[in-house]
């Protein structure tokens, strides 16, 4: 067991708390004008202008099959740098609310249980316990590789890809 702790940014999606390694995060932005991309999957249905670069806007709620509520005054875009198809890429993530940077030690985390979750377990790297609550640490590689498509959605909507 490695003992290292990670600095993580926590944020809310539909009442669930998620955490991302703080080192990935480039910036947290207020909502920006979005440009919808016709034909794109709902998981990544829009692009935004982030300081002169056009970056995709990912909605993790789609990957976790959550309701997609309307934006509120708390809604933010978390810009992260993460490899996409082997190339470093900037990606915007929608968050209903962004909390703070916190320390998550390895002891407080545990492997994802096989059952008891309504989400695809391979989309989650680990779960962390805090104050009797659970924090989800998503597996971005898996989510991005699947282009956010959950099993059920895949069968209904064949991909646009050639």
């Amino acid at each position: 067991m490695t003992q290292h702790a990670i600095e993580a940014l926590t944020f809310d999606l539909q009442g669930e708390t998620f955490a991302l390694e703080a080192g990935l995060v480039r910036e947290v932005l207020d909502l920006l004008p979005e440009t919808e991309v016709p034909g794109a999957p709902p998981f990544v249905g829009a692009v935004i202008n982030f300081r002169g670069r056009i970056i995709p806007l990912v909605d993790l709620r789609v990957a976790f099959e959550m309701e997609r509520g309307d934006p509120t005054i708390d809604t933010r875009i978390v810009v992260i740098e993460h490899p996409l198809d082997g190339e470093p890429a900037l990606i915007g993530l929608r968050a209903d609310k962004v909390h703070e940077v916190t320390t998550i030690t390895h002891e407080t985390t545990e492997d994802v249980p096989r059952i008891g979750l309504r989400w695809r377990t391979d989309f989650i790297r680990r779960l962390a316990r805090r104050d009797g609550d659970l924090i989800v640490i998503p597996d971005l590689d898996q989510i991005f590789a699947a282009r956010g498509q959950t099993a059920s959605v895949t069968s209904l909507h064949p991909t646009q890809a050639r």
Binding site: T35, E36, P38, A40, V47, N49, R53, V58, Q160, R162
Partner: protein, 655 residues
């Protein structure tokens, strides 16, 4: 990015040197006696040997040394540049390329090449005397030369030059110290000396020039033949001359110096392509920021702000244009390699081929040039392999024995038109049709225009080669060529006359980075249509709109054009504007109308790629940032036209 890897620098340099050697050799095959070519090849080999050794490419240096030695005999006129010799050096040159690039080479390959080369040199038992005119009477020459100030730093040494002159014959040398500065101004590493040499030699002017072959570009050199009428007994007195004579010489020297300076302004700087790309990105951002400023300023009453905005607009536009020019390279870089290809193709096919190249100074963006290389190679191979007949067939058809392949490039507006023409047998329509029917591309007996029939060649999986030769049939079809060209936002077309040959024309945009676009609105979103694809804009009247529910066709000057409602295509879910417009776009031959809600106007567009998430949605080729900071997607016209045609075909089947 800090500093350049010296090895990489050498490789680049080697690449250019080898290219120069290769071109020289290919020319030499046609003009075997050309001294300039022989010198150029020799100089290239010599420099390669030198810098190869300097950068630790010992195998390359050693190998090149042998080639240089062999070629030196050609240079000295001892051996003629026979086709065999040239072919040997060409193969040797390929070997050097492999060594320079650090590719693995077969053991013994170098030795085998050298053995061939040796045989070619020895075998060329040409009359030595023929190359060198029979020793004439000794003539007298007055030679005056000086090296540039930084010559010593750059490794040039005057003493060996004088030694070489001495080898030619009887020499009187006088050093000219006129330009040596006062002691306090003297920079010891600089060369301020000039030399005057009176040489009596049986060798000709060429021999003298040869002495300076490696420094000639930088130095000033005057060579004058002294005739008998001049005072030969006291040459130095003459050289010292009257004051007016000295003055005259001085002025010619300054003129020469100016020449050198003029030549220097044509110097080039090697810049890695990625730095240019970075700079292009910056300029792109500048253009974007500028258009935002323009928008702010136009809504402001502050005249000073508006003046600055205008100034910035002008500067950004100029900067953009300059940047474009910086990225431009002449197509000769692309066409140059085809001479070698044709050379090899002649050997492989046994056909005789003349290559004509036109418009090689036409310029294109570096990235475009790089991406054009493979499709062009394929087209030229095709022309040689499928297009041209064998010499016997040509003679039988009453044509000259050698076939002609013509490569030409012409700039027209923001595009370059590249054509590959051959005077071969032309496309066999019956075979194309048979093959297309066999592959299920068309139904038997389907009526096609000649153009449609010819363009079947570009359909996926199509190949007319009955037998797969080692030239074509490498798994790359014309469909791949077409795709690559369209990826460059270009188009291609073929025309062909039976028995007279074929012409493949490519239209390629000058650059990939920036385009002029037409900004349109569909629903709440804005999109950009590349202006090069726009033919015209017409109104879609509400009556037409209603009537055309069953068919999506409008009549434009007696021609039916299918149209696509982008609102439906993009599922915007919004109600149509009362005054919809149709933007008629084309890919060169096929047209399709795009129904939009509003046309917003011209927009100069810096193209940004879409991320991996969106790259595979066919309808968009990229995106751009608008003046207000919003993002507009750029429509991929070939895909949309294709969609429209399919739509149209379905309508026809249904109707």
């Amino acid at each position: 990015m800090s500093g350049l890897d010296p090895i990489e620098t050498f490789r680049q340099e080697a690449q250019e040197l080898l290219e120069q050697v290769e071109q020289g050799l290919l020319d030499l095959a046609h003009r075997p006696g050309d001294r300039d070519l022989i010198d150029a090849v020799f100089r290239g080999l010599h420099t390669l040997k030198g810098s190869g050794a300097m950068f630790g490419f010992d195998a390359l240096a050693a190998f090149t040394h042998h080639c240089e030695t062999a070629f030196d005999r050609v240079r000295k006129g001892e051996v003629p540049a026979t086709p065999r010799l040239v072919a040997c050096v060409l193969s040797a040159q390929d070997h050097m390329r492999a060594l320079a690039e650090g590719r693995p080479v077969e053991p013994g390959a170098g030795e085998a090449l050298l053995a061939d080369l040796h045989a070619a040199v020895e075998g060329g038992d040409a009359p030595v005397g023929a190359a060198e005119p029979a020793a004439p009477d000794a003539r007298k020459w007055k030679i005056r030369f000086s090296l540039p100030a930084d010559a010593l730093v750059n490794g040039a040494r005057p003493l060996p030059l004088l030694d070489e002159l001495r080898d030619l014959g009887d020499c009187h040398v006088r050093v000219v110290t006129d330009d040596v500065p006062m002691l306090e101004d003297l920079v010891p590493t600089e060369c301020h000396l000039a030399w005057e040499v009176l040489l009596t030699t049986p060798h000709g002017r060429d021999a003298i020039d040869d002495v300076f072959i490696f420094v000639i570009d930088e130095m000033t050199l005057e060579v004058e033949e002294l005739t008998a009428s001049r005072d030969l007994d006291n040459p130095m007195a003459e050289a010292a001359g009257s004051p007016s004579a000295v003055k005259a010489e001085k002025s010619t020297e300054t003129a020469a110096a100016q020449d050198t300076r003029a030549a220097k302004s044509g110097e080039t700087v090697r810049v890695p392509a990625e730095r240019l790309d970075e700079m292009m990105d910056r300029v792109g951002e500048l253009v974007i920021a500028q258009s935002r400023l323009k928008q702010l300023a136009s809504s402001s009453l502050d005249t000073a702000l508006r003046a600055v905005a205008e100034e910035i607009e002008r500067l950004a536009a100029e900067m953009r244009d300059t940047m474009m020019v910086v990225r431009m390279v002449p197509v000769i870089q692309l066409f140059g390699r085809f001479r070698r290809l044709i050379h090899d193709l002649q050997n492989d096919t046994g056909k005789k081929i003349d290559l004509h190249i036109e418009g090689e100074t036409t310029e294109l963006d570096k990235t475009v040039i790089e991406r054009l290389a493979d499709p062009l190679v394929h087209l030229v191979r095709n022309a040689a392999d499928h297009g041209l007949e064998t010499p016997e067939q040509r003679l039988a058809a009453g044509k000259p024995e050698a076939g002609v392949i013509r490569l030409s490039a012409v700039q027209s507006g923001a595009e370059v038109l590249i054509t590959i023409t051959d005077d071969g047998r032309g496309v066999d329509r019956d075979r194309v049709r048979a093959k297309a029917e066999e592959n299920g591309l068309i139904t038997p007996g389907q009526v096609l225009t000649d153009n449609e029939l010819l363009n079947l060649i570009f359909a996926p999986g199509f190949s007319t080669a009955a037998t797969i030769t080692n030239l074509s049939g490498r798994g790359v079809g014309m469909d791949v060529v077409k795709k690559t060209i369209e990826g460059l936002r270009g188009s291609l077309d073929i025309t062909s006359n039976p028995g007279q040959g074929s012409v493949v024309s490519l239209r390629i945009p000058l650059t990939l980075a920036i385009i002029d676009g037409l900004l349109i609105r569909v629903g709440a979103s804005r999109f950009v249509i590349p202006l090069a694809n726009v033919e015209e804009c017409v109104e879609l009247s509400p009556a037409q709109d209603l009537r055309s529910t069953g068919r999506s066709l409008i009549t434009l000057r007696d021609e039916l054009v299918p149209f696509i409602r982008l609102r439906e295509q993009f599922k915007t879910g919004s109600a149509p504007d009362p005054h919809q417009k149709i933007v008629v776009v084309s890919t060169g031959q096929d047209r399709v109308g795009l129904v939009v809600d509003q046309i917003l106007g011209d927009h100069q567009t810096v193209i940004k790629p879409l991320s991996g998430f969106h790259a595979d949605i066919g309808a968009f080729s990229g995106a751009t940032i608008l003046g207000d900071g919003g993002v507009a997607l750029i429509l991929d016209i070939p895909t949309l036209v294709h969609l429209g045609q399919r739509h149209d075909a379905q309508m026809r089947v249904a109707g």
